[in-house]
Amino acid sequence: MPAVIDIAATQSAIGILSSSWSAWVWVIPGLLVGLFFGAMPGISITMAMAICLPMTLYMEFLPAIIFLTSIYTGAGFGGAVPAILMNIPGTSAAVATTFDGYPMSRQGRHNEALGAGLAASVIGTLASYVLLYLTVVPMAEVVLKMGPLEMLVVAIWGMMLLGSLTGDSMARGLLAGTFGVLLGTVGMNTAGYIRGTMGIPWLLDGISPIPAMMGLLAASQLFILINTRYLVENDAGRSISLAKILRGVRFSLGYPGVILRGSVIGIGIGAVPGVGASIANLLSYAETKRTSPDPNSFGKGNPKGVVASESANSSSEGGSMATLFALGIPGGSATAILLAAFAMHNIVGGPQFISERMDVVYAIIISNFAQAILLFFVGIAFVYCAAYIVRVPMRFLIPVVLVVATFGSYAIEGNSAGPIILWVFSIIGWAMVRYDYPVAATVVGLLLGRLLENNAINTYQISGGDAAYILERPAAIAVLILMVLSFGVTAWSQHRRQKRKLSEQAAAP
């Protein structure tokens, strides 16, 4: 195995960065572009990076990559802003942020939620790049061992989240989740079978998840709020306060365990090609809820839910960069844009790049430390301005958000499919919320359905239906053991807590 840290390359990287102003000048514009695009519903990180990609053609390689990674870092947190303030997960990576972020906003704790989310994002990004700095080469070797079976186990782990999203009625919650999983499998599957498209050509690729999520979570919520004056009903609660945003930051810092767990999940999942931040935030949320002493407070405005989600989705950036640098494989669409930028400068990622240009790799990693720190200051100013949304009367906010969401859903594929999906799912979502079905469970099912089916089919094809195949996959066994251990430890601690509570009740006079 190659050396973990190359000291000479690190010194050379510091030399490159300290001698070149052009590497730094693009960081703040990149962060601002990322924050703005990330906060716009439907405008993905990929789209923001793709729009700016041609500009990088006229830059040197290092400033170009630093500019694009700044956009990546900014957009990673930008998605949390509409998720917290309007229940719109601008990207699938911010789904779990809505679970507690939006209830916090409705309670007038929007400042704290934004501050907590920002701090978790900053620390998550920092942690992921520190880990990337330490393990860029060995991590890539681990990623190569991840096959369909391992991915299937990861997807099943994600599905376990459904159990904690059921709300008051377990049956309704499970039905909502099952409905979501089936919706996620509509279209042509990996084996070429076409189901549930009703003859509509644009359903061949399945139900586009972002418009469906925006409809289920946000548009449905806007219909319900039609008779509400403001997002925050209490007049005093509509304040915009830097002190409260900083209180949210301090809250995040008080839960290093939640951030660390989120970061580790984010880096691990982010490094796996094709999975990334959309699963990482759900897993981190589920694990934090499961291990919390007050799991019932989640989904009702517990800031730990925001911290768990944001630390995971931001840290997945570092994970996907590991695969890009070491293997030349993009972990997701955003890193695919980075790979295109590599190609534009005649550079090919992979083992040869790592061995020959380790100083450049380290320079990019070190500049990302600075990006994460700068994100904190730029992000504070950004969320301070964005929080003014709570002062806009709902009679203006409802049509405006519906129109912006429609434009965003059109922007995904450039046809009416997105807006129509948004509309249909807004009505389904409204009906589900009205009759106490947890729409979050449907969203999780929708996100995981295709991943689950594709990997189940691939595993079946490879194994020929032989269950003993799992014994040949140590990585899958390791993930499975980790999952079982996680559930086992939680069940044991819950059992102990309950036993203690019962004995205390029995001892009471």
């Binding site: 695009f37 716009m40 405008i43 789209m47 793709a50 729009i51 009625s169 049956a171 309704r172 499970l174 039905l175 099952t178 409905f179 999983v181 089936l182 499998t185 509509v186 599957n189 084996a191 079978y193 189901r195 549930g196 548009a219 219909f223 319900i224 039609i226 008779n227 709902m394 009679r395 203006f396 409802i398 049509p399 405006v400 519906l402 129109v403 429609t406 434009f407 059109y410 922007a411 594929e413 450039g414 046809n415 009416s416 807006p419 129509i420 948004l422 509309w423 807004s426 009505i427 409204w430 589900m432 009759y435 079905y437 359905g449 089916e453 189940a456 089919i457 079946y460 094809q461 239906g465």
Partner: protein
């Protein structure tokens, strides 16, 4: 949306939603089986759909509930007022949802600018804004900013009629 049926109250709205979900799951299962009976086609969909249908049957009794003594004791005037308020709110939501549906389906035919202007104006009115001058002014500024903003940001062209 509850109706008393003798001693049993039926939550018709919930029943309708459950029938929609159950009906869609059943139709999807039939369509999947009609496509192919191969394991590669049914591996996830068939067991999940069967579980979904069983869950629908488990939830079904929750749409019916025995009318309690509190309901019987409630004054008819109070019930009528509640009912009117609920219907008023549902009517507003139905209007907004219909306008939203018309907006998303007409985007490419009437142009994004006209559709956006019309829906925002109608939406503002449905949501309670009654100052027509403000609706006109706000809607125009918002439409212009949105169209030019999105045109600069997204890589796809979108049909316009005026701008």
């Amino acid at each position: 949306m509850r109706r008393s049926l003798g001693f049993i109250e039926v939550d018709w709205g919930h029943l309708l939603l459950l029938l929609f979900i159950g009906g869609w799951i059943l139709a999807y299962l039939i369509d999947t089986r009609a496509t192919s009976l191969s394991v590669h086609n049914l591996l996830l969909v068939q067991p999940t759909a069967i579980i979904g249908l069983i869950l629908c049957l488990i939830v079904l009794p929750q749409c019916f509930r025995r009318a309690g003594p509190a309901r019987a004791a409630a004054s008819p005037e109070g019930l009528v007022t509640d009912r009117r308020r609920e219907l008023g709110e549902l009517g507003k939501i139905a209007l907004l949802a219909t306008a939203f549906g018309a907006f998303v389906t007409s985007l490419e035919t009437v142009g994004f600018d006209v559709a956006c202007w019309l829906f925002t104006a109608i939406g503002l009115y449905i949501c309670g804004e009654r100052r027509l001058w403000l609706i006109g002014l706000f809607t125009t500024i918002f439409t212009v900013l949105l169209i030019y903003g999105y045109r600069a940001m997204i890589p796809f062209p979108f049909p316009l009629s005026v701008l």
